[in-house]
C-alpha cells in the first residue's frame, strides 16, 4: 500500500497548495475579514472568496468607507480575494485574480509568493507560456521558503517551453540544493536528452540514480532515475549498463516491477536466460493487475523455451492464459461499472474526501471499478485537474440546490410578513396620526411656556405665576364684588374686605415671585425629560414602522432575479458536471480498454506460444524416444 501511495505522490510531484499566511489576531480590525481568513485557512476557498467579495462590496457601498473597519485591511483584502481565487483555481476569472495579485498593494514577498502560485497553476494546467509570463513578473524580494521551489518551477517551465539549454543551466545550479538534489539532477538529465545531449543526459540520470538519501521521496526519485536510465540504455542495446542501472532500483519501491522486467530483458538480450528467470520469476508472482507482471508471465515461459524446457513453458503459458482471462473479465466488469456511473458515484463519496489515502480506499468500496489498473491515470495531472473540477462542480450543485430552497423560503417570508402587517397598518397609521397631532400640540404648548418663562426673567409678571387656589379665590372675589355692587344695600365694609383680600393675594404673588419662577423652571425641566422620553418613543415607533415596511417591500424583484440567476447557474453546473464526469469516465474507460487490448493481445500470444511449446515438447519427447 505504501508503495502505491508513494508512486502516487511521486507522479504528482509538485508543491502542494499552501494555505494563506498566519495573521495576528490583535492586528485585526474587521471581524468579517477575520471570518474570510478562517475559511481560507481551512481550504474552504469558495466561502473565503464569497465572504471577502461581500465585505468588499459592502465597504465600497458605505457613505464613508474611511470609517468602515475594513478600511484598515482594504489593500490586503483586495489582494487576498485574488489570491484565494487562485487557490480556488480561478486563474482566468476575467483577469480579476491576476490583476489583484500582480498589481496588489501588498509587500513584495507576499506578492511574489502569490505570483509563484499563479505560475504553478498555469504550469500544472499545461499553460506553459502563461506560466513563463507570470514568473517573469516576479521581481525583488522572494520569501526564503519558496526560493528553491521557485527556481525549480522556473526550470520546469523553461523545459516545457522548449528552452532546454536554459532549463539545463538552472537545474545544474540546483543540483546541490538540499531536498531538491534528486529531482533537479533527474530533470537535468531529461533536459539534456531533450536538448539532444544524450551523453550528458545519461550521465545526469546515472548521478541521480546514485544520490544518497534516506527518505521515501528521495529513494523514489533515485529509483525513477535508475529506471529511466536503464530503459533508455536498453533501447540503445547497452544491456550490461542497463542491467546495472535497473538492478539499483529497490525491490520494494514503486518502480520495482518495471525494473525487474527490464533487468530480465537485459539478461535475455545478452543470452543469459537463466539469469533472466530470476527477476522475471519474482515479478510473475506479484499481483496480476500490473502490466509488467502480466508481461513477466509471458517472459518466464519464453526464457524456459530458450533454455529448452518446453513442457514447463507450456504449463506456465497455460497458467498465464488463465490469469489473463480472469483479468480481462475484471477489466470488462470495471468498464461496465464505470459506464453504469459507479466510478463517479464512488469519487463523490464523503468518506473519500476526508481521507488523504482515497486512491487506495476507492478500490475497497463495494461496486467501485478496479482502480488498481487506474493508478497511473489517477495520478496524472489531467485526471487530477478534471477530478478537482468535478468535485468543485458537485460542491456548487449542492450550494445552488440549498439556495433555491432558501430563496423560496425568503419569498414566503416576505409574503407572510405582508399578509400579516398590511391589514394592521391602516389602523396603526390612523392612531399614529392622531397621537402625532396631539404631540405636536403639546410640544407647541411647551415651547410657549418656555418662551414666557424666559421673558419673565427680564420683565417680571407675578400674576402669571399665581397658583390655582389664588386664581380661584380671585375669581370668587370678583363674583362677590359684582354681586355686592349691583345690590342696593351694598356695604362699604364688605367691599373693603374684598379689596384687602385681593391685596393679600397680590402681596403673596409679588413676595414669592422669585421662588415661584424658580419652581416654574424646575417644572419645565421635568417636562423636558418627559418630552425627551416621548421623542425617543416616537423615534422608536418611526423606526419600527419603517422596519415593518422594509421587512417585505422591495424584495420581490431582488428575489426573482436571484432565483433566476440561481436556476440558470444550477442548470449550467449540471451540464458542466455531466460533461466533466464524462471526461473522467472516458479517461478511465480508455485506460482500461488500452489495458484490456494489451491483455487480449497477450492472450493470443500466450495461446500461440503454448501450442508451440506443446509441439516442441512433443517433438523433444519424440526425438528422445527415437534416440532411445
Amino acid at each position: 500500500m505504501k508503495r502505491l501511495l508513494l508512486s502516487f505522490i511521486l507522479l504528482m510531484f509538485s508543491a502542494s497548495s499552501a494555505p494563506a499566511e498566519t495573521r495576528k489576531t490583535s492586528d485585526l480590525h474587521d471581524l468579517y475579514f477575520g471570518e474570510a481568513l478562517y475559511h481560507a485557512y481551512q481550504g474552504e476557498w469558495f466561502d473565503a472568496v464569497s465572504r471577502l467579495d461581500t465585505e468588499l462590496s459592502l465597504h465600497y457601498g458605505v457613505d464613508e468607507p474611511g470609517r468602515d473597519t475594513l478600511h484598515y485591511h482594504v489593500n490586503q483584502a483586495e489582494f487576498d480575494v485574488g489570491d484565494f481565487e487562485l487557490f480556488y483555481r480561478m486563474h482566468q476569472k476575467a483577469g480579476h485574480a491576476i490583476k489583484e495579485v500582480i498589481e496588489g498593494n501588498v509587500p513584495e514577498p507576499v506578492k511574489n509568493e502569490a505570483i509563484f502560485r499563479l505560475a504553478r497553476i498555469y504550469f500544472q494546467k499545461g499553460q506553459s507560456k502563461d506560466a513563463q509570463e507570470a514568473v517573469d513578473r516576479i521581481k525583488g524580494v522572494v520569501p526564503e521558503k519558496i526560493k528553491d521551489d521557485l527556481a525549480f518551477l522556473k526550470a520546469e517551465i523553461l523545459m516545457a517551453n522548449g528552452r532546454y539549454a536554459d532549463s539545463a543551466r538552472m537545474f545544474t545550479d540546483m543540483k546541490d540544493t538540499r531536498g531538491l538534489s534528486g529531482f533537479s539532477t533527474y530533470n537535468l538529465g531529461i533536459a539534456f536528452m531533450r536538448e539532444g545531449k544524450e551523453t550528458d543526459g545519461l550521465r545526469s540520470l546515472d548521478r541521480a540514480g546514485q544520490i544518497k538519501g534516506l527518505d521515501d521521496v528521495e529513494l523514489a526519485i533515485r529509483d525513477k532515475s535508475n529506471l529511466v536510465l536503464g530503459e533508455k540504455l536498453l533501447t540503445e542495446k547497452k544491456y550490461a549498463a542497463a542491467k546495472d542501472a535497473l538492478d539499483r532500483v529497490r525491490l520494494t519501491g514503486p518502480f520495482s516491477n518495471r525494473a525487474l522486467l527490464g533487468s530480465g530483458w537485459a539478461d535475455a538480450s545478452l543470452g543469459n536466460y537463466q539469469s533472466a528467470l530470476v527477476p522475471w520469476t519474482i515479478l510473475s508472482e506479484r499481483s496480476a493487475t500490473n502490466a509488467s507482471v502480466e508481461e513477466a508471465m509471458l517472459a518466464v515461459p519464453y526464457a524456459y523455451i530458450k533454455l529448452g524446457v518446453y513442457s514447463k513453458a507450456a504449463v506456465l503459458y497455460s497458467q498465464a492464459l488463465a490469469s489473463f482471462g480472469k483479468e480481462t473479465q475484471k477489466l470488462s466488469a470495471s468498464i461496465t461499472s464505470i459506464q453504469e456511473g459507479k466510478f463517479l458515484a464512488a469519487l463523490l463519496r464523503e468518506e473519500l474526501k476526508q481521507d488523504p489515502d482515497w486512491v487506495v480506499k476507492l478500490r475497497e468500496l463495494p461496486e467501485a471499478p478496479e482502480t488498481y489498473y487506474l493508478l497511473d491515470l489517477l495520478a496524472s495531472q489531467n485526471f487530477q485537474e478534471s477530478l478537482k473540477n468535478y468535485l468543485d462542480l458537485e460542491e456548487l450543485r449542492v450550494k445552488l440546490s440549498t439556495w433555491t430552497g432558501s430563496l423560496d423560503a425568503l419569498h414566503d417570508l416576505t409574503k407572510k410578513r405582508r399578509d400579516y402587517y398590511e391589514p394592521l397598518l391602516p389602523e396603526i397609521d390612523r392612531e399614529f396620526r392622531r397621537l402625532d397631532t396631539l404631540m405636536r400640540l403639546r410640544l407647541a404648548q411647551r415651547d410657549s411656556i418656555e418662551k414666557r418663562l424666559h421673558s419673565m426673567l427680564t420683565s417680571p409678571r407675578p400674576e402669571q405665576l399665581e397658583t390655582a387656589d389664588e386664581s380661584l379665590t380671585m375669581l370668587r372675589l370678583s363674583r362677590l364684588e359684582k354681586r355686592l355692587t349691583s345690590a342696593p344695600d351694598a356695604s362699604g365694609v364688605t367691599l373693603s374686605r374684598i379689596k384687602l383680600l385681593r391685596g393679600v393675594i397680590a402681596w403673596n404673588m409679588y413676595e414669592e415671585y422669585d421662588q415661584r419662577l424658580t419652581e416654574a423652571f424646575k417644572h419645565l425641566k421635568d417636562l423636558n425629560s418627559e418630552i425627551d422620553r416621548m421623542k425617543t418613543e416616537y423615534a422608536s415607533f418611526i423606526r419600527t414602522r419603517q422596519a415593518v415596511t422594509q421587512s417585505y417591500e422591495g424584495y420581490d424583484d431582488v428575489i426573482r432575479i436571484l432565483s433566476e440567476k440561481t436556476h440558470t447557474a444550477a442548470k449550467k453546473v449540471e451540464e458542466l458536471k455531466t460533461r466533466q464526469g464524462k471526461i473522467l469516465e472516458t479517461m478511465a474507460i480508455n485506460e482500461l480498454t488500452r489495458r484490456r487490448k494489451l491483455l487480449e493481445q497477450y492472450e493470443v500470444d500466450a495461446r500461440f506460444a503454448m501450442a508451440d511449446s506443446y509441439d516442441r515438447a512433443r517433438k523433444a519427447q519424440d526425438n528422445k524416444k527415437a534416440g532411445e
Partner: protein, 171 residues
C-alpha cells in the same frame, strides 16, 4: 515474440520519459475549454452567493436587531479548544465542537462567526462556556457572564479565548 515484448518495453519507456498520454479521445483543447467554463461558472455562483448573503442579512437580520458573535483565540495560545457554548438571556443560541482544521485556522488568526441573530435594544446577558484541555493536558472548563448592550446599530461581539479566561469586546 521477443521483438514484440522488447518493443513494448521500449514503448513504455518512451511513454514514461515523455509523459503518459492518457485519454486519446479527449484533446487538450477540450480539457482547457471545459476548465475555462468551470472557472466562469464559479465566478457566476460566487456573485449569486454574495448577493444572497446581503439579501439574507437585510431580510433576516435588520441592523436594528442584529447581533453577531465571533470567537477568536488569543495570540500564541497553546490550549486545545474542544467546544464553545453560548447562552443569551438564559437561552442557548450556539454550540460548536471544533475540528482539528477549525482549530488550526483559529490559531493562524482566523475568526469564527459562531452566531448571528436578533435581539431587542437594551442590555442582554451573555453566558459563554469553553471546554478544552490546557497545554499541560488537564481539563479546562470556563464559564463567564458578559453584558451586551444593544442599540440601533448592528452589534458585533468578539469573544477572545485564552486558557485563563474569556475577553469580550463589543464593536
Amino acid at each position: 515474440m521477443f521483438n514484440r515484448l522488447t518493443g513494448i518495453v521500449v514503448a513504455v519507456a518512451v511513454l514514461f520519459i515523455f509523459s503518459a498520454a492518457y485519454a486519446e479521445d479527449i484533446t487538450k483543447e477540450e480539457l482547457k475549454g471545459q476548465d475555462e467554463q468551470v472557472q466562469d461558472i464559479k465566478s457566476d455562483v460566487l456573485e449569486v452567493s454574495a448577493d444572497l448573503e446581503k439579501l439574507e442579512e437585510k431580510l433576516l437580520y435588520p441592523s436594528g436587531t442584529e447581533v453577531s458573535l465571533f470567537v477568536s483565540l488569543a495570540e500564541n495560545e497553546t490550549f486545545r479548544l474542544d467546544a464553545v457554548e453560548i447562552q443569551m438571556d438564559g437561552n442557548p443560541v450556539a454550540r460548536h465542537v471544533y475540528s482539528f482544521k477549525e482549530l488550526e485556522a483559529m490559531k493562524k488568526g482566523g475568526v469564527q462567526r459562531i452566531y448571528t441573530g436578533n435581539i431587542k435594544i437594551g442590555d442582554h446577558d451573555l453566558l459563554v462556556s469553553v471546554i478544552g484541555k490546557t497545554g499541560g493536558g488537564s481539563d479546562l472548563k470556563n464559564s463567564q457572564h458578559f453584558k451586551v448592550s444593544k442599540d440601533v446599530a448592528p452589534r458585533i461581539v468578539e469573544l477572545t479565548l485564552t486558557d485563563q479566561g474569556i475577553t469580550e469586546k463589543t464593536r
